[in-house]
């Protein structure tokens, strides 16, 4: 285009009822850019707030943990999915967040170090401490790529596990562990049942609401990072770092930024998760946890926020699913001792493996890919393409 007008002044409004007619790029990259998305988002959020009234408390706890794990998965997806930096060290950042929160929010009169600080201090602090760790680790990613980076971050997990095990005054040590911080915000004690907004709610219902709001805040944050210039820079780095550098993206800055952001998400998720769980010990932050989070990202969908949530919900619910299946097949024993060919924990591990292999082969875009296919089927109606 040559000299087409448009002096800088009030732009007339685009015509009504034509969501595809974009008069500014801002509309194209809006958080919710179609009316259909707006409607379904509102419905989904309303439905999510209705969940606690239709499920039993033991299932609610599974959902609550799933919602919190989603935040961690979004964090991993930022660094691994969007920015393409494979990280096996996620468990370390989760642990760092969990212990920061436990120490800052822990009982000051207890056996272990605790400062009894309120939630609005320990939750952000957990994120910040993890993010600082991320900042320190980040520069390694500038030098290393792919498999090498994965191995280095793997090392981080072992380092972390060792430190957590040995710092007994902070973590309680192996086999003993310590309590997570108390969930208390605006005078509401989420770890006890009680009435909230005039509704008599159980502990699990209250925690579910807290986790839901927590997830909504961080999901929007994650989505905003992904759709902004930073997110686009991440994708450019992932697709070809040399090309990204050529178009003016500072690789060092963005790779470090990806690790820091990801770690922040991991830190706050770790803090919340173990606050809900209650007692936890250093062995929880081993390689298996990192792999679980990678599985969430892979099964949910790489480089998607909604996929991270789907994956996290699914993986957290997997033990429960394995148990339900075990009830159906007598060959799977429900206890660790005797009976059956395999026990339920072995079965769960096998299920993990099968799911990861299955998704990588048949549905590389994860649960999100399945959703996309369903959506496109209806979006294309009445055509197929």
């Amino acid at each position: 285009m040559t000299a087409t007008v448009t002096s800088p002044r009030r732009t007339p409004r685009p015509p009504r009822g034509r969501p595809r007619l974009r008069t500014a790029y801002r509309q194209d990259m809006a958080l919710i850019n179609t009316p259909a998305k707006r409607r379904s988002t509102v419905l989904l959020v309303l439905a999510a707030f209705g969940v606690p009234f239709f499920f039993t408390d033991d299932l609610l706890l599974v959902f609550t943990l799933g919602l919190i794990a989603s935040v961690g998965a979004i964090g991993l997806n930022l660094v691994t999915g969007y920015a393409g930096q494979v990280s096996l060290g996620h468990a370390f950042f989760l642990g760092l967040g969990a212990y920061t929160a436990a120490v800052l929010g822990g009982d000051p009169e207890g056996r272990l170090i605790g400062y009894g600080m309120p939630m609005w201090v320990w939750l952000p602090a957990a994120g910040i401490v993890a993010a600082i760790a991320g900042l320190i680790v980040g520069p390694i990613a500038v030098r290393l790529r792919g498999l090498y980076l994965a191995i280095v971050t793997l090392g981080l997990v072992f380092l972390g596990e060792h430190v957590f095990r040995e710092a007994r005054t902070l973590t309680g040590g192996p086999g003993v562990g310590r309590r997570g911080p108390d969930l208390e915000l605006f005078g509401i004690r989420f770890s006890e049942g009680g009435s909230l907004f005039g509704l008599g709610l159980s502990r699990d219902q209250q925690q579910f609401f807290l986790a839901l709001v927590f997830l909504i805040v961080f999901a929007i944050l994650g989505r905003n990072i992904a759709r902004s210039g930073v997110g686009r820079a991440f994708s450019a780095v992932r697709d070809r770092d040399v090309a990204a550098a050529v178009i003016g993206i500072n690789l060092t800055v963005y790779k470090v930024m990806a690790f820091a952001m990801s770690s922040f998400f991991a830190g706050v998720a770790g803090a919340m998760y173990y606050a809900v769980v209650g007692v936890f010990e250093p062995a929880a932050f081993g390689l298996l946890l990192s792999i679980q989070y990678l599985a969430m990202v892979l099964i949910g969908g790489v480089a998607t926020i909604s996929g991270s949530i789907m994956g996290a919900m699914f993986i957290t619910a997997l033990p429960r699913i394995a148990q339900e299946i075990a009830h159906l097949f007598p060959v799977i024993s429900t206890s660790t001792v005797g009976g059956g060919i395999i026990n339920v924990f072995q079965f769960e591990a096998i299920l993990y493996g099968l799911l990861i292999i299955g998704f990588l082969i048949f549905e590389p875009r994860g649960l999100y890919g399945i959703w996309m296919r369903i959506r496109n089927y209806w979006k294309g109606w009445p055509f197929s393409y």
């Binding site: 000299a3 007008v5 009445p382």
Partner: protein, 621 residues
């Protein structure tokens, strides 16, 4: 038109209308143009500003009233800025088809004596530069897109669009109000534009349309609501995609816009019109039959690749829609309770999403004109709920003759005469004659042709043969020159048979032959997209168009279409033999006009062998 000239002073013109809009609603959107994925909005204020600058620029180049200024561009906002700027300084706009080859550009520029040419880009500019030595009157060439030109072309006559506007701004500083003054002096019989007819038989002729002609069209169409009910207004959206040098698109784009403020939308390029339609969802859509046929055929191709459930859904609701379409046709386009209920059900499952996908979701008025269309195509669109109307008009009567009105539609006819138009048939030949204030002022530099076309008492000979249906609706039989008289002395209208053939998605072109022959034959051109798709699904390998059209399976496929068509006509009107044309017809090679109309003489010459073959065999047998 003479009786209308007396009240010349009370008249307004297109530039004055736009100036008025720029004054009363400066920040309302006049047009949009899609650039780099975003629809840039251009307000009335911007529109008038740009047009004035063009006007001043032309004044600085020494353009005098009555001078011809050419515009050779795809549809874009600069086309409108130029058109209005040119008219404002009382010069004459000469539109050229972007597809015109250099030879035709030469003809038009030389015939019109164009002194300034506004060319879109390097491609169009090169056409003019190739022949510039034969055009002594062409003094200046303005190019809109500088890519490939700036810094490489050194011709002193060249001027970029920005330079033109800069000159305009300087001229305005030196002579403020010069364009306004010139625009206000406009007379009713000023020639506003030369519209070159497509010329199926000879070289294109420049039809002179005056300011009075344009004002008549605006009064008839836009203000009295002869086309649309309620009348078109500033809430209506239009996608401008047909060539603006054709009178029909000029009516729908420039004149509607100036008259009632409809918002014009320009796609990024001609290839992205489908996407643009979907984004804009225009309320008023004008198309030529070829466009409607292609959309309908496109739906069928895409459906053939759809999943089973979708096919089933489509099949079911298309059956219903055919029934609705037929009922509507029987009922002059009015719904009955039964069709309304059927439509409501189908709306949920097929019609709404289908129309939305085609960009016709919000269409409240769709029209087909400029060439005859097969009733099947009209029924298809009416069936899925697009209010489709066939209209009739031509350059020489400023596109005003007859139109089907909402609720009084007769498919197969071109509708009833417009309110302010007189239409009658020549009692001897059956030729359609029209008379109204929109009748053109004559052909440029061609008094003989003018005399042949306009009778002494002001009737325009359209060159079309027609008949009345039920005394109210006009049905066009054919072009008077194209009527076939067989050796048996029977008069046959080829276009009816051709359109019936073309309503098949597999057939793009059909030319019926049989003048002074024993029986009818046809040259048929297949539609590469659909037949290619069909062949692929049958695992039929092919390389080129020529290869595909020679496959026995394809010939068989076309045979079926021909046979199906034959059952609809009397036995003298059936196609006995046909040949497939081994190439796609092309404007560049002189087989089609710029508006994709067939030049019969050229075709019969080019395919003389095939034609002889179709008759010779019979002789031998």
């Amino acid at each position: 038109m003479n009786e209308r000239q007396e009240n010349a002073t009370a008249r307004t013109t297109l530039p004055l209308r736009i100036r008025e809009r720029a004054r009363t609603s400066p920040s309302t959107v006049a047009m949009r143009e899609k650039n780099l994925g975003i629809w840039d909005q251009i307000t009335w204020e911007d529109y008038w500003e740009q047009a004035t600058l063009v006007g001043h620029g032309l004044l600085s180049l020494g353009v005098e009233p009555g001078d011809r200024v050419g515009v050779h561009s795809e549809n874009r906002c600069e086309w409108l800025f130029s058109d209005i700027g040119i008219t404002a300084v009382r010069a004459v706009t000469v539109g050229l088809y972007p597809t015109n080859p250099a030879a035709e550009v030469l003809h038009v520029l030389r015939d019109s004596g164009t002194s300034v040419l506004i060319a879109e880009d390097q491609e169009q500019l090169d056409k003019a530069l190739e022949i510039i030595d034969e055009l002594p009157e062409l003094r200046h060439l303005v190019y809109i897109e500088p890519r490939g030109i700036a810094g490489r072309y050194t011709d002193p006559r060249l001027l970029s669009w920005t330079e033109l506007l800069e000159r305009g701004a300087e001229h305005r500083d030196a002579h403020p109000g010069a364009v306004d003054a010139r625009a206000e002096q406009a007379q009713d019989d000023d020639i506003a534009t030369l519209v070159y007819t497509s010329g199926t038989t000879g070289p294109p002729k420049g039809a002179m349309l005056t300011i009075a002609n344009i004002e008549f069209v605006i009064e008839t169409l836009a203000q009295h609501g002869a086309f649309v009910d309620p009348p078109a207004n500033d809430k209506d959206l239009i996608v401008s995609y047909l060539p603006l040098c054709h009178v029909a698109e000029r009516v729908f784009t420039t004149w509607f816009n100036a008259a009632v403020g409809t918002q014009v939308n320009f796609a990024e390029s001609i290839e992205t019109v489908q996407v643009a339609l979907r984004e804009v969802q225009p309320t008023i859509v004008f198309g030529v039959p070829r466009i409607w046929e292609k959309i309908a055929a496109g739906v069928h191709i895409r459906m053939s690749g759809a999943s089973r459930l979708k096919k089933l859904n489509f099949g079911l609701w298309m059956k219903v829609s055919q029934w609705i379409g037929r009922r509507l046709v029987e009922n002059d386009g009015n719904h009955t309770l039964a069709t309304r209920l059927a439509y409501a059900a189908g709306w949920v499952f097929l019609y709404r999403p289908l129309r939305e996908r085609l960009g016709l979701g919000k269409a409240r008025y769709a029209a087909s004109g400029a060439a005859p269309i097969a009733p099947e195509v009209l029924e298809f669109f009416m069936g899925i709920g697009v209010p489709m109307h066939e209209v009739y008009g031509m350059t020489e009567n400023s596109a005003i003759a007859t139109a089907n009105r909402a609720g009084r539609i007769k498919v197969g006819t071109v509708g009833e005469p417009q309110e302010s138009a007189e239409v009658r048939l020549d009692p001897e030949t059956g030729e359609i004659l029209t008379r109204h204030a929109g009748t053109f002022a004559g052909y440029w530099n061609n008094p003989e042709a003018t005399a042949r076309t306009i009778t002494e008492d002001g009737w325009l000979r359209t060159g079309d043969v027609g008949e009345w249906v039920d005394g109210t609706h006009l049905k066009i039989t054919d072009r008077i020159k194209d009527i076939i008289i067989t050796a048996g002395g029977k008069n046959i209208s080829p276009s009816e048979i051709e359109n019936s053939l073309k309503s098949s998605p597999y057939i793009k072109e059909a030319i019926v032959i049989g003048d002074r022959r024993k029986y009818l034959t046809a040259l048929i051109g297949i539609e590469l997209d659909t037949v290619g798709d069909w062949a692929q699904r049958r695992k039929l390998a092919f390389t080129t168009y020529r290869d595909l059209s020679q496959k026995p399976e394809v010939i068989e496929l076309v045979q079926e279409v021909v046979e199906a068509t034959n059952t609809k006509f009397a036995s003298v009107e059936t196609i006995k033999r046909f040949r497939l044309m081994p190439k796609e017809l092309d404007h560049e090679q002189g087989e089609l006009t710029a508006t994709q109309k067939i030049k019969r003489p050229a075709i019969t010459r080019q395919f003389a062998e095939e034609i002889a073959d179709m008759y010779d065999e019979e002789v031998r047998a």
